[in-house]
Amino acid sequence: MIPANKSDTLVSVRDLGVSFRIDRTNRIEAVKRISFDIPANSTVALVGESGSGKSVTALAILGLLPKENSTIDPDGKILYRERNLLELTQAEMRRLRGGDISMIFQEPMSSLNPLFAVGFQLAEVLTEHVGLRGRQARKRAVELLQEVGIPDPEAKYDAYPFQLSGGQQQRVMIAMAIACEPKLLIADEPTTALDVTIQKQILELIANVQKRRRMSVLFITHDLAVVGEIADHVVVMRDGMIREQGPVKQIFEAPRDSYTQALMLCRPQLGRRPKRLPVIDDFLDSSHPPAVADRSRGLRGGEPIVLEARHLGKSFYSRRGLFGQQEFKAVKDVSFKLAKGKTLGLVGESGSGKTTVGLTLVRLHEASSGQVIFGGKDLLAMPAHEAMQYKRRIQIVFQNPYSSLNPRFTVGEILMEPMTIHKLGSERQDRRDMVHALLEKVGLSESAFFKYPHEFSGGQRQRIAIARCLTMKPDVLICDESVSALDVSVQAQVLNLLQDLQDEFGMSYIFISHDLAVVKYMADEIMVMSEGEIVEIADSDEIYLNPRHPYTKTLLSAIPRGWNAARRTAAETGGESHSTVP
């Protein structure tokens, strides 16, 4: 893939290989001799799941890999304007960093120094590369803050990172990155930690800045929908290798590589609801995935209700002074009904109180007010010992499969424990048989019984967590962001598993997520939360087609639409696509 016109190429990466030392004897190859180009004045998306080597590639370009344990293959080259970046001295590299090439990161909060005002951190770049000092630097910094859309930039100059919202922090990072007119901006998952509405703003900002400054952007992400919106060229990586690269139109309309095809289809789409999501193996094994029928979701009315929340409220108190307290209402007057065998989706942005609702239902948080009617009784009013038998029937699957399993327990111990506590199964052998059956049900082999959680991948761990809930034969399963931490390909497998289990056991789900596409796919009915309140409840198809509340509308319009008709026409007429690259 050598570009036809050399003057148009800003950076070319040739045979880049990076390996890391794990311990005295072992190394892993994180990036295996990859080559790609970043044309001038365009956006290149580097797409891949975790462990694909995409971030390592970015850090290698900037020379920021940790020196202690990383090695770059000496045969490789990173050419920037005819100079090999890998051969530059420390001082030369330093002049490039923040000047010609700059970078923004995933976590804006931790990426800014917490102890310095944002203006100071911004002016620092100007002093270092442009030589601006004092009042001049301040003036320029305020202009930059203005450019990236920080309200009241003059005052925010003296603000500290913790006083800004996540979106504003990322804007400051962008201001810092564009301060010295860079030729290349590397953005490493810049919106992953942000809410969907903020993500939309930041993506627009990056696109605007790219056009206005006529620079190139290397956009690193796992999210193909974002890629479809922002990129001109796409590079798909997996396991340190490039699977496919090309113009965005080609990648989206005629992907050649089976992995690329799989990535596009295994993420739930807003428009379609197949009975089962395709998974990576479907594509890697055969070139044509099986066609599946669609599933219909929604309430018909008249389904029996298993659980009902009435005027649920939850307040947190923080101490003020010696005796004072400050109340924070995380959940306000939330009421809903959960039908048997159905899924209730719960969406909202961070801080909306959706997780608190979930935890309150299983009494992991004590509710401040309201009732939860389950099995004809108020679950919240029961004394703890009486609640035990009901507690068993409502179970919860958490977000992070790496912290939700006790690392010192074997899988067998993890799965046997609930049965021992609730005296399920008559004797040990009986329980063991049940555990074996459950392991098979969630798609793990019997040998998992004696293994420890650290020996499993994230997706497998989430299966174990689901199996732990199933040991208690619950009526209601609460999935609190249960697939959010997983890669898209693994996410599809876990979603399929959850649907299969629902079909088989008739469990009701409360599916909590910030990801609207996933909730839309899984839920019969959707509840939208904002600032502790329910703003809208409706059938899932209905809510996507005809949102009534303004907040729901904002939320829906912020979802990245990916490669769609609108973008295609814009690309064709606007002529921003670079046909020089094959």
Binding site: L64, G98, S102, L112, N113, P114, M176, L322
Partner: protein, 312 residues
């Protein structure tokens, strides 16, 4: 700000009360009747009877506690059982020598430890780093007693570079003549653990995301370390230094004792040997109060360094 200080002082009352109870419990219940303790130390039965009356030994416990609290409130702990000196006088006259040695010691130690820690953190993983760390580990493993004995023997007794021990009258004389060797020994003893500790503080910060950002901005390594890392690492360093401050009042009593410095530490040792309870009680209470004040100072310092700290 003022309001905050008042409230903080108010909040220390339960702790102070706890310390008073602890000390009272120790010296009254565990310590037992002074008559029994002092038998053989003070032969004069009248004096012992006097002491018993002062403490209210024959009265009920709460009355004894009340006597103790009154002593603390008025700052009048009576007289030393051993020397008949006013306890408050002992404390005041011994404070000067202790501080003359310990303030320079703390300053020199902190400055050197920060510099050394920064250096080895900067070249982390190198041979220099490893050599310094192993030297520190070995240096730390030798008892402070050995350092004092050997240094006093070699530098003062054999080579005669410093006076073996003693204390003069003028501040300059004390600082420049008598305090030098004690300070050197003190610095050598505390440098090893502090360097190791501060190195971990720096290493914790060096791996943070904001350091990566600072590098991505093209800042020089010197600026990254001395501006960005230093400010963040200074928070735990302040904590560590402030923890050591109240200890200054008691002094490095071993050093004071070996070098015959008439400081509080030496006085405490003498008091412990002589079961001179009024002195020990007074010092314990004073130092506890000083600790609470330094804690408050530390919080005010954090506020100066860390904008996230809110004085509420």
């Amino acid at each position: 700000m003022f309001e905050y200080i008042v409230r903080r002082l108010w909040q220390t009352i339960p702790t102070l009360l706890g310390v008073v109870l602890l000390v009272f419990f120790l010296f009254t219940w565990v310590g037992g009747d002074p008559a029994y303790l002092l038998a053989g130390k003070i032969s004069n039965p009248e004096q012992i009877e006097n002491i018993r009356r002062q403490l209210g030994v024959d009265q009920p416990i709460h009355a004894q506690l009340w006597i103790f609290i009154k002593q603390i409130a008025t700052g009048d702990f009576g007289v030393s059982w051993a020397t008949n000196e006013q306890v408050s006088d002992i404390f005041l006259t011994r404070l000067g020598p202790s501080l003359t040695v310990l303030v320079p010691l703390l300053v020199v130690d902190t400055v050197l430890a920060i510099a050394a820690a920064m250096l080895v953190a900067y070249v982390r993983g190198s041979v220099t780093d490893r050599v310094v760390m192993i030297t520190c580990t070995v240096g730390q493993s030798i008892s402070i007693l050995v350092y004092i004995i050997v240094f006093q023997y070699l530098l003062a007794y054999r080579l005669g570079w410093f006076p073996v021990q003693g204390w003069g009258n003028g501040f300059a004389e004390n600082l420049l003549t008598y305090s030098l060797l004690p300070i050197i020994v003190g610095v050598i003893v505390s440098l090893a653990p502090d360097t190791r500790l501060y190195r971990t503080f720096f290493l914790d910060e060096i791996n943070q995301d904001y350091v990566r950002t600072a590098r991505a901005k093209g800042l020089s390594e010197t600026r990254v370390i001395w501006v960005h890392v230093m400010r963040n690492a200074s928070i735990p360093i302040i904590t560590n230094v402030m923890i050591q401050l109240p200890g200054l009042l008691v002094g490095a009593f071993l050093i004071e004792r070996f070098f015959s410095i008439p400081g509080i530490g030496r006085e405490v040792l003498l008091a412990v040997e002589r079961s001179d309870f009024p002195v020990i009680k007074a010092v314990t209470i004073y130092v506890a109060i000083a600790t609470m004040i330094t804690n408050l100072l530390a919080d005010l310092l954090y506020k100066a360094v860390d904008p996230r700290v809110q004085l509420k």
